[in-house]
């Protein structure tokens, strides 16, 4: 027993996008520590944007070079495969766009520690500025989002989950307006998030007890030899599932989503609704496919029920909402359900898997970019006390500001999946993949998949109802006399809306290039 300690090998080149984001986050903390207050923002903005753009460029370079590794890197901790690179690219684009929105003045509180309504707060407001800590926090969260879906063992995944979540808990509490709501959202998100990650961790412990390792490869191997009815294993499977499904906001773990989305500052809501969802779906796919793929007869029925419940709950509860951000949150829950249909469609060692995987990735891309655009529009419709959240305030917006209302209506139609928008092709791809995988499996599974798709179509129809209701409200009712004002958008917000609109329209008209890209990324599947 005199083994020399072997230095671990780390493939810095392959991990460069993630390392760049984390590095920039650390530099951001140093800037907070050493740069004078008046200079901080002018350092943070280029630092954050350039690091995200640079990380995106590094992802592109890897794709173009075709140097996608076929084995996990960093001693088996991180898997940078085709799906990872695609998801990284999507997350980096989304976070870049969200940072453009975060740059705007007026979203974040001047001093988070000051009690709302106190003299301290007035003083901080009068002194101007806002928390520039937001930038490093966002970078850490984005770094966690990159690590979370790419991790190749459960420990790395847990660390990624926490690195993604902890900054977001704080960011949720930093809204400048409606401080009480913001703080409440922050506390609810924190307590529920910590609760769910404890479940994830206990699941990890159980799986470790069964397999003797937390590496996905090792778990997969242990499952192919060991007893699949071990209670420890089944407990671990269900607890892991709880932790992951909480993050994507699937019913019955969806309760945090509307509260947090409504209370958080809107740019942060946009980041959570897009980046976190993409990362969490990626992680869910990887865990259930790479590590627990051999158990699919155990988790598939539960996932079926969760997908069905999520779609129905999201679509029906969205109808009753009176706040625009809450409505979008329920819409996000419904879309998480549609994504779970796609997750159901990857199973076994089927050839269909690559198609299902590419459908999910395509859906993630088009849905999340549209979401960011919709939230960017929400930031522009303002009351004296902040954003005009209540739906009644949006009445007649089409007459006051036809362009803005038209763009918002277009985003809503994309959510609903109307043809000629990107949302249509996203939904079509996922539903078609689910049907194909069902018919390939034959036997009873085929019928169940068809049932789920039918339910998905019904839920889409219900969802279309409340999207169209908002459109009707905007264009066919009279504006209130003291209606909300439309903020003059900053360059950043214009860019955000333009980019989202461009992608939503572009992919809606010419989906093929993007579908090809997703196919190509999914063709190698997740590495085991």
């Amino acid at each position: 027993m005199n083994d020399a300690v072997v230095a671990p090998t780390i493939e810095y080149g392959t991990l460069a996008p993630m390392l760049l984001v984390f590095g920039a986050a650390v530099v951001g903390v140093l800037v907070e520590a050493f740069a004078p207050r008046y200079m901080r923002k002018s350092i943070h903005v280029p630092l954050t944007l350039l690091s995200l753009a640079g990380a995106f460029a590094l992802v592109i370079v890897q794709v173009v070079k075709g140097a996608v590794p076929t084995a996990p890197v960093a001693m088996g901790a991180v898997a940078v495969d085709g799906p990872s690179l695609f998801i990284w690219g999507v997350i980096l684009v989304l976070s870049f766009v969200c940072v453009l929105m975060i740059n705007d003045e007026g979203h974040f509180v001047a001093s988070a520690a000051a009690v709302p309504g106190s003299a301290d707060e007035e003083e901080a407001e009068a002194a101007g500025g806002s928390h520039t800590e937001v930038y490093p926090l966002v970078l850490f969260a984005v770094g966690g989002m990159l690590l979370f879906p790419a991790s190749h063992d459960l420990l790395t995944m847990f660390v990624g989950l926490e690195v993604m979540s902890l900054p977001l808990y704080l960011l949720c509490g930093l809204a400048r307006r409606r401080r009480l709501l913001s703080q409440e959202a922050s506390m609810k998100y924190f307590l529920l998030g910590a609760f769910s990650s404890a479940f994830f961790l206990y699941g990890t412990a159980m799986i470790y007890g069964f397999a003797g390792t937390v590496s996905f490869t090792g778990i997969n191997k242990a499952l192919s030899t060991g007893s699949l009815l071990d209670p420890i294993l089944l407990l671990g499977l269900s607890l892991l599932g709880v932790g992951l499904l909480f993050k994507i906001g699937a019913a019955p773990f969806q309760a945090w989503k509307p509260d947090v989305y409504q209370g958080a500052p809107t740019p942060i809501t946009a980041l959570m609704a897009s980046g976190t969802l993409v990362a969490a779906v990626g992680a869910l796919l990887r865990v259930f496919w790479v590590a627990l793929g051999n158990l699919d007869w155990d988790w598939r029925p539960v996932m079926w029920a969760v997908a069905a419940l999520t779609m129905v709950v999201g679509a029906i509860l969205a109808i009753t909402q009176t706040d625009i951000k809450r409505m979008l949150a329920y819409s996000s829950i419904a879309h998480a359900g549609f994504l779970l249909i796609g997750v159901m469609a990857t199973f076994d060692k089927s050839a269909q898997n690559a198609k299902s995987l590419s459908a999910i990735m395509f859906y993630l891309l088009v849905y999340s970019i549209t979401t960011v655009g919709a939230f960017a529009v929400v930031t522009m419709v303002r009351d004296p006390g902040g954003e005009a959240g209540h739906l009644s305030r949006w009445a007649g917006l089409g007459k006051r500001s036809p362009i803005l209302a038209g763009i918002f209506a277009f985003f809503l139609l994309a959510f609903a999946g109307i043809p000629l928008t990107s949302g249509f092709f996203g939904k079509y791809a996922v539903f078609a993949a689910a049907l194909a995988s069902g018919s390939e499996a034959g036997d009873s599974l085929g019928g169940w998949m068809t049932g789920l798709v039918v339910l998905g179509v019904v839920a889409s129809a219900i969802a279309a109802f409340f999207y169209v209701r908002v459109i009707v409200l905007m264009f066919f009712s009279d504006p209130a006399a003291d209606g909300p004002s439309i903020a003059v958008p900053s360059m950043g917000t214009v860019a955000v809306i333009a980019i989202s609109l461009l992608i939503t329209v572009g992919v809606g008209l010419f989906p093929q290039p993007m579908l090809d890209l997703a196919n190509q990324a999914a063709s190698g599947l997740f590495i085991r």
Partner: protein, 98 residues
């Protein structure tokens, strides 16, 4: 032998989970979450012993670090909300609903 530790860890986890669900003070709720994390640590270490490898013990260290980071963030949030509302009860934070 491992079974004893697992039963203890399961009990701790259940006590923590029940505490999160029924206690009303945010600090106590948070302490219950920490209890759950410690239950995880116990399970990891017990399994490490059973499996005869060190991974579980190493994971326990990672969990401690993450728990410490979580305390920093969590207490900051709870203290802020206490200063605003003069109450740390999770029932009082009820503006966001339906």
């Amino acid at each position: 032998m491992t079974t004893h530790y697992l039963v203890l860890s399961g009990l701790l986890f259940a006590i923590g989970a029940m505490g999160v669900l029924i206690r009303r003070n945010a600090i106590v709720v948070f302490m219950c979450v920490e209890l759950m994390l410690n239950a995880c640590n116990l399970a990891f270490v017990a399994f490490a012993r059973q499996n005869g490898n060190l991974e579980g013990q190493i994971i326990a260290f990672f969990v401690m670090v993450v728990a410490a980071a979580e305390v920093v963030v969590g207490l900051a949030i709870i203290v802020t909300i206490f200063r605003t509302r003069r109450s740390a009860s999770v029932d009082d934070a009820n503006l966001l609903k339906y």
